[in-house]
Symmetry: C2
Subunit: 89 residues, 2 copies
DNA sequence: TCCTTATTTAACTCTTTGGTTAAATATAGA
DNA sequence: TCTATATTTAACCAAAGAGTTAAATAAGGA
């Protein structure tokens, strides 16, 4: 994956909000979709972008697919940011 | 400004690399442009996106325009990221 | 098996993005 | 003033993004 995938995934407000929602625990695709004024298909695509970036993981459970946050990937972003702020000039 | 502008600006690899270059001190548009295999016009547009997001500041000095990093804006991103990692569930 | 629900995938549209070249602007110097 | 240099802006183009609706897939239950 890498930083590029991560940053691209984080550049969309809906995707960032999805991550925020998942901070509170796992949610099904449907539960996530209810919070946004777009179609389920659109949300599904956002989820696949986040999954591609490994920012979320999914588990099928019967009829539902549950998504959960994988915050470990954010470490790389944090490192890049602190590198930019610190060790200045 | 806001997080959205910042994240959008950070989503492009050339723009991130420009910020990395500026970590070492101010550089003119031309000096920045030399490091990338794209036209000066393209670099100029990247610079204007970064400036729009207030991630860089510019100062004209004679024939040259110098750009410098404004890392303070990154604080908001850091906060958002730590919020996502910490205070979990 | 058939029907309903949950979710994704396909096909398509519209907008945004990142690049190009050419023209415009700003400044220094002969 | 004329010319050369530094940089941006304008006009354009192709590719990527994000949305839509409709069809496909997956699973549960009558």
């Amino acid at each position: 994956m890498g930083l590029q995938n991560t940053m691209k995934a984080l550049s969309d407000p809906i995707r960032r909000e999805i991550l925020g929602m998942l901070k509170g625990g796992r949610l099904s695709a449907g539960e996530i979709g209810e919070h946004f004024p777009v179609s389920g298909a659109a949300v599904s695509k956002h989820l696949s972008v986040l999954k591609e970036a490994d920012l979320i993981r999914d588990t099928r459970e019967g009829k539902f697919i549950y998504y959960e946050l994988n915050a470990s990937v954010l470490e790389e972003v944090m490192l890049w940011l602190t590198g930019l702020k610190g060790e200045g000039k």
